[in-house]
Subunit: 154 residues, 2 copies
Amino acid sequence: MSNARPDLAAMIVPLGRALMAAELPVLDRHELSMWSYAVLLGLGAEPVYTQAALAKTIGADKTRIIGVLDELQRRGLITRGPDPADRRVNLVSLTEAGRNIRDRAQRDIQARENQLLERLPAGDRRVFLRALRTLSDAVAEQSGRHGNETNPAL
Amino acid sequence: MSNARPDLAAMIVPLGRALMAAELPVLDRHELSMWSYAVLLGLGAEPVYTQAALAKTIGADKTRIIGVLDELQRRGLITRGPDPADRRVNLVSLTEAGRNIRDRAQRDIQARENQLLERLPAGDRRVFLRALRTLSDAVAEQSGRHGNETNPAL
DNA sequence: TATTGTTATACTCTATAACTATA
DNA sequence: TATAGTTATAGAGTATAACAATA
């Protein structure tokens, strides 16, 4: 056909790696690891989470985030304690300090991302971001509903 | 600001993971691993490569692809032998069989990717692919020129 | 001495499986 | 018994370092 293109994955995966690599020094300046930042972002929408729900939201194993939560709690960036209604589960929420450090880190990260986006004409940039959100929502929806291994629609 | 958006990385990295996960069963039907497929793709443009150059092209460590090349050679999908002009280096090239299996696998993979792209309006899809190539080329250029850890422009 | 390919080793990350405490 | 959180173990994947052949 006339419309040969590289594989989507072959373009997107290295791009994602480069974006992560570019994030690391920025996060480092805010003394955050990638997982710490992911947790702070994951706590953004809802006021409280159980650890399991939080882990699922950010695509991590529930065992993966325990050490991360330990450190964030120690630094006073989150609160964590048993739910009085069911003392098996922990309720996790952002503190004011946690929200501040998250917002500052995100501002720096997106400023850097915007430098990359400036390579695109303004019109393309708008469409690109819109399309990316559409596709991102599509895959989030897929992985959201019960551990789907077959992934038929993607 | 009025233009709040999720982090680029937070959208692109999970999208890349989902695309890879969707590729795996397709590659499996062609009896290819992800790395085998990456090697076959990497051998596409130029007729011959040294192993080191090939590894760099696909973003792998030179030690990483040795076992992959062993198997591809055993299956007759590539040829590999010392360069008469400098017997330290191996010249690697695709065989006809290798090209065939690569093209068939890629056709299946892109067909599946196109299903995802159909979620976008035709106009957005065109712009999205164009923008993605621009950004992909930008990061490939970055990682191409000597092991750049600081990555200033990204 | 420097470089390519190779092999062996160590390290990081992740997933799996037990353990506790609550229900 | 079932579930949330925790801990410990095992496995996969990757990077690092040493080695042999050639220049």
